[in-house]
Symmetry: C2
Subunit: 363 residues, 2 copies
């Protein structure tokens, strides 16, 4: 681990090492709920204008860590950059979600699919390097990618979906085509994350945002197996330090035992998961990240503090010999409607209320 960081609490927690307090960061912490983000976004002209410009990406990545006492920064980017580099042409229509102009739905499109030249994603690696310079040694920077399955959902559907009908039809009717997409994705994601590590990412997270929509059995074969392939391909940093791996499967509660065996250092969980019950399921030595319902942030300060206290108590109720290995986070991205001042309450409550759990003598 880089020893020069002024605050390495997040990296230590990822590796289940002792920490003085529970570190906290928030999925989508650089985002629309912040007025300063909306101002930068307006200057950039479009979402992709923001995401593809390293200066803008640096600016918005730093905004939440300047405003709050967060323990990590996360690269501002989009999970669909990799399929965009494959030639699917990502677009964001105003008021809608992302959409690919050229979805991958038939044998011919699948046959043409290839691991993209990472040079096409240079804007991402430049952003990582720029953010590292801007952060100096204050905080660690998390890089990320969508999981092979989650990328495949968008690549086949062409956009978000309520029922994942197209990608699941391919899964059941033509599993060979889907396996080919996933194999390409796994190789591309490993290259992509390694290039982020080369550029300075100090932890990497795989967002399996749509893993939870799969049936038992299909999840293991079409999501987990390819996430594992990515993890096996990840490198250490230039100094030979392990770069912590975080895997977050939204709706992954049914499969925590299997996710815990993937080789990740940290398993992210959503709010349906009881942290204390999850710890023995992911296994000793694997950290947990999560899992407050983002909607808690719409309640007042006293309630936010109460929910933080309950979440910390739940984690520390587990019958394990260590109190380490918790990274506080939400169970999903923060809502764009969140009152910014409530985020301070959350972050400060995590730091204050977690200290008693960490000052007791180690067992």
């Amino acid at each position: 681990m880089p020893s020069s960081l002024q605050n390495d609490t997040f990296l230590r927690a990822c590796l289940s090492q002792p920490v003085p307090f529970t570190p906290v960061w928030l999925m989508r912490q650089a985002g629309r709920y912040l007025p300063e983000y909306r101002a930068t976004r307006a200057r950039a002209g479009s979402f992709m204008g923001l995401a593809t410009n390293p200066d803008f990406a640096t600016e918005v990545t730093l905004q939440p860590v300047d405003r709050y006492a967060l323990d990590a920064a996360i690269l501002f980017s989009d999970i669909l950059t990799v399929p965009d580099a494959m030639g699917l042409r990502l677009g964001f229509a105003e008021g809608e979600g992302p959409r690919f102009e050229r979805p991958v739905r038939d044998e011919a499109a699948v046959a043409k699919l290839a691991v993209p030249d990472m040079a096409k994603l240079r804007y991402v690696f430049d952003a990582v390097a720029s953010i590292r310079r801007a952060l100096a040694s204050r905080l660690p920077l998390i890089g990320f990618s969508g999981s092979p399955w989650t990328l495949a959902c968008y690549m086949v559907e062409g956009a978000g979906s309520d029922d994942y009908r197209l990608v699941k039809t391919m899964l059941y009717a033509r599993p060979d085509l889907l396996h080919r997409i996933l194999a390409v994705n796994a190789e591309a994601v490993a290259l992509y994350l390694n290039a982020q590590i080369d550029a300075g990412a100090q932890a990497v997270m795989i967002f399996d945002s749509w893993g939870g929509v799969l049936a038992d059995g299909a999840f293991q074969a079409f999501s987990l197996a390819y996430t594992e392939r990515v993890l096996r391909g990840l490198k250490r940093d230039a100094d030979g330090h392990r770069v912590p791996h975080i895997v977050f499967t939204k709706g992954g509660g049914p499969w925590l035992e299997a996710i815990g065996k993937l080789g990740a250092d940290v398993v992210g969980v959503d709010w349906t998961v009881n942290l204390g019950q999850a710890r023995p399921r992911v296994g000793d030595g694997i950290a947990l990240q999560g899992n407050l319902d983002p909607n808690v942030l719409f309640a007042g300060p006293a309630i936010i503090r109460g929910e933080v206290a309950a979440s910390l108590a739940s984690f520390h109720a587990a019958p394990l010999s260590t109190r380490n290995g918790h990274v506080f986070n939400l169970g999903h991205g923060i809502s764009q409607h969140t009152p910014p001042e409530h985020v301070s309450v959350l972050v400060d409550a995590v730091h204050e209320l977690s200290r008693p759990y960490h000052v007791l003598p180690q067992a």
Copy 2:
């Protein structure tokens, strides 16, 4: 159990009694994937025109059981009839989902909320009686309601939601208001299901379609507790027979132990749940209903049969002393895009492939 039924396999399976084959029905089996449904819907002029007319409701309820060898019929209705009767004014804009004109979002609206006069829902009970007459003794009829929590989601949001921000804000910020809504809903749902039983429903199902969006802890307090209240209020039929209770929580996998203790005869599960692992979790003597991914029906006949075989094998892999207590179903409503001929393949495969599990000598 009514002994006069020509096919009581479904009711026997609900009560974990021996059956010659695994019964099957499909959530939303009367629906848009059937051309005969679309024809009736066109004659009715609107969805509510269809749902509120007992003759039309009878016609569409019978369509799938006339076409396929299904083992139960389910009342054609909507889960939002109860809040509509409370005065929230349900509407269906063309091409959109349901929407309430008068959502319940503040203290004043909550204070005004009351259990509706069941006379306003007479069209539902008339439909139940009419369907029973039309079915004669062929098959049992399932009545249903939304759960108190699921109804509250629509009542507060006013429509479907991606993030349940309004109802969850109420949950965290003003739990007193939400508890009051849920108490009214629980009383109304119990009256509603009892009136369906009086009219002839031979099993009743509670759809907790949105239970799975709740955080651990919140699910128990805001969904489970009120479903339990409904179940405690349910009556037997006019002949003193137990009317099987089915509780289906989409995304309820994390809480199967608690759901199994509710007092229901059958626990419905979605496709993320492994049936064999679920059996010891819900407890001996509680039947399971589910859980095929509806998207399997987009694949060809051989694959559908293979997935049916795998689902049956999964259920029967559980280390329990009984092979009873399985009602085959999908893990969610059938898609409107389903090829109707694939449903025959599914239904026939369940009957054929399940027989070997039921002819072995009982342990």
